[in-house]
């Protein structure tokens, strides 16, 4: 019996130690030699390509299934498979595959941004640069703009293509804000004092809640100070302390006196819709319009921002280093960021999504169509949104801020 056990132990250990030897495949050589988009199109004909991205938004899913997939088949004879997967798990999969020494994987195109791009680039999980090989980038986007060169403060170097934009937007029922919406953290505090128990936010590290906390900090301390602070926990604490103090001041006037918080934005939305709290928020600029259309928010719900601005960012598309069909992946990204596909995405049916385009490069009709989007009920104008924007804080500072919030606000 003992011999067996030792044998098994050894087998298990051996298997976990040995990596897989794979030779450079023909595919790899192909990928290296792609220099133009048209070349990619020729090489990709007849292939199947996968798209991995967040699966909880049924409208975005429908857009991929009903608009992008047929277009890809028709135009390029490429089959698209959409796989719902959170970005954490996409990265985990890629990391694990890399650790195991696999040269090829299942993921081709992925929907990515922010802190996750930082991780992916750090671990060399992405194939690139690709922006020079994707036509839409040159055609429609602001090639030198902030969003095309930096992602959450990390240099992009052409490894991802802008896909959509997001901005933190607050939602409130105008009936509950007879004196106007709060345009700054100070006004928010006053409102909270006048209406105790009617405000709350989702606890970090929940994604949007974390953005809310960062936004409050930037509103009080100023974005530049936060950006220039070093990434050391204690130094950062000194810089953002006024923001954390504010949140502590706000605490007693929150729902449940700040002793507990909702944990998902879905829950916050539900509490808002039920009238339990008077304010909600979302990273999607069209959130209020969407919810009003679905009869989940009252028709008197409107969006509002802080005068000093709210956090805005972009999401991107990237290609995995281990992709087996890189040419097809390039074509897919091109199609997903094409004018035709993106205009469809901007429709109500597919979520009122805002394309990542530079208005200077678009035709008059397209520009008109897009600005009409903003004429939707409950949404702010494009100018106002763009005016009141602040960039994202650098990716490596975000977990630090979340921990500091936990230590100094949650457990105070």
């Amino acid at each position: 019996m003992k011999k067996w056990l030792i044998g098994l132990l050894a087998t298990g250990m051996l298997l976990s130690l040995t990596g897989c030897k794979t030779n450079e495949t023909k595919e790899e050589q192909k990928a290296e030699s792609i220099t133009t988009f048209s070349q990619a199109v020729t090489e990709a004909k007849g292939e199947t390509v996968t798209f991995y991205g967040f699966g909880g938004d049924e409208k975005a899913n429908a857009w991929v299934d009903e608009v992008v997939t047929p277009a890809m088949k028709e135009k390029y004879d490429i089959t698209v498979k959409r796989i719902p997967m959170d970005i954490d798990q996409i990265l985990n999969k890629l990391t694990t595959e890399k650790e195991a020494g696999a040269k090829e994987g299942d993921i081709d195109v992925m929907w990515i941004n922010g802190e996750n791009f930082y991780t992916a680039k750090q671990a060399k999980l992405l194939y690139g640069p690709i922006t020079d090989k994707v036509e839409s980038f040159e055609k429609w986007m602001d090639v030198d703009g902030h969003n095309s060169t930096y992602d959450f403060g990390v240099k992009i170097d052409g490894y991802e293509v802008p896909y959509g934009s997001a901005q933190l937007v607050f939602a409130g029922d105008s009936e509950n804000f007879k004196e106007g919406f709060p345009k700054s953290t100070k006004e928010l505090l006053d409102y909270a004092k006048a209406n105790p128990g009617k405000l709350t936010y989702t606890a970090p590290p929940e994604f949007t809640g974390s953005a809310f906390v960062r936004n409050v900090i930037c509103d009080i301390v100023g974005y530049d100070k936060v950006e220039n602070a070093s990434s050391d926990k204690d130094a950062l604490y000194k810089v953002i302390k006024p923001g954390l103090d504010y949140l502590n001041q706000l605490k007693p006037y929150l729902w449940q006196e700040g002793k507990t918080y909702p944990t998902t934005t879905a829950e916050l939305d539900q509490m808002f819709a039920a009238g339990q709290v008077n304010m909600s928020y979302s990273y999607s600029q069209m959130h209020v319009a969407e919810k009003r259309k679905e009869n989940e928010f009252k028709p008197t719900t409107e969006s509002f921002l802080f005068d000093k601005g709210t956090i805005a960012n972009q999401s991107y598309l990237a290609i995995a280093e281990t992709s087996k069909v890189k040419p097809a992946a390039l074509v897919l990204i091109n199609e997903m960021t094409s004018e035709s596909a993106q205009l469809k995405k901007a429709e109500a049916e597919y979520g009122y999504s805002i394309p990542p385009f530079d208005s200077n490069k678009l035709s008059k009709e397209t520009n008109q169509k897009l600005s009409d989007l903003y004429k939707n009920q409950g949404v702010l104008s494009l100018e106002e949104m763009q005016e009141k924007q602040i960039p994202e804080v650098q990716a490596e500072k975000i977990p630090l801020i979340e921990t500091l919030w936990k230590e100094h606000v949650l457990h105070e």
């Binding site: 056990l5 650790e99 671990a123 918080y261 944990t263």
Partner: protein, 284 residues
């Protein structure tokens, strides 16, 4: 090694390979060897850091509290339900009792949230009946510090599970013993403690181990329904795992191994206790 041992071989093989591979990798990374991010030294730093962190002890205790409460209540409720099931042979009721077992925990969590949150169904009933005037008057049953909602989810799933498992065992027991005892004049309580309990005691301890470990390491339910102030240990691990900065992975693995260690210790303790109780040494 005779032919008979071959019977057990596939079982041992499958489990061993998977567990050893996992253990090995976990040890490897948690001790500091993580080439993909460039860490190549072996040290006990990660473990030290993890055990010293102030939140660790808090979340450890909270996880224990949740696991123990949920498991004890489930066992008591489940055994009671098993007896009910034995007495009432209705096919349909048995089928209904079986249903919660098939539901994934996350669905149950959502269901419970829709039921007992302040804007939930029960609150609406109270409102319609006039017991409360607004949803804020309904007691806070989720996101509360006692974990009421979390416990509700586990009880909902585990009481039927315990009941069904215990029932299967009860059905195969020779209940003739009970008839004999009754004839000899034993009181109900004595029958329960001297005859029934020893017979099912082993199963109960086994269930205790399974349920405790599962609840202890559970992530999604506390995440959805818990109070951010009271984190469970699994949430802490998850947060370490999903940090953008991959250098926190070793910490997460260290925490994983600590959790495994705790579960194993609890299991051994329970088995030891069970051994000393009546019925613990018999093989049926």
């Amino acid at each position: 090694m005779n032919r008979k041992t071959l019977f057990a071989l596939p079982f041992i093989l499958l489990n061993s390979v998977i567990i050893f591979a996992a253990l090995f990798k976990g040890l490897q990374i948690s001790l500091g060897y993580y080439p993909i991010v460039g860490l190549k030294d072996f040290s006990l730093n990660n473990y030290q850091q993890v055990l010293v962190e102030p939140f660790f002890q808090k979340s450890l205790l909270y996880s224990c509290y949740l696991a123990l409460t949920a498991t004890f209540l489930s066992l008591i409720g489940g055994v009671a339900l098993a007896f009910l099931l034995m007495k009432v042979p209705s096919c349909w009721l048995h089928k209904i009792i079986n249903l919660p077992i098939s539901l994934p925990h996350i669905i149950v969590a959502l269901m419970i949230m829709q039921l007992i949150s302040q804007s939930g169904i029960v609150s609406r009933i109270f409102f319609q009946v006039g017991w409360i005037n607004g949803m804020d008057q309904f007691p806070l049953l989720i996101h509360d510090s006692r974990g009421f909602g979390i416990l509700a989810v586990f009880l909902y799933k585990e009481i039927p599970f315990v009941a069904v498992t215990t029932l299967a065992i009860l059905q195969q027991l020779q209940l003739g013993y009970i008839e004999v005892a009754k004839h000899l004049g034993a009181s109900t309580i004595k029958i329960f403690f001297s005859i029934i309990l020893p017979m099912i005691q082993k199963t109960l301890f086994t269930l205790f181990i399974i349920l405790f470990c599962f609840t202890f390491a559970s992530f999604e339910v506390p995440y959805l329904l818990g109070n951010p102030r009271n984190q469970t240990i699994a949430i802490t691990t998850y947060e370490l795992f999903t940090q953008a900065d991959l250098t926190t992975r070793p910490l997460a693995f260290a925490l994983n191994l600590v959790i495994s260690g705790i579960c194993l210790t609890v299991s051994f303790l329970s088995l030891a206790i069970s051994r000393f109780l009546p019925g613990g040494r018999k093989i049926w």
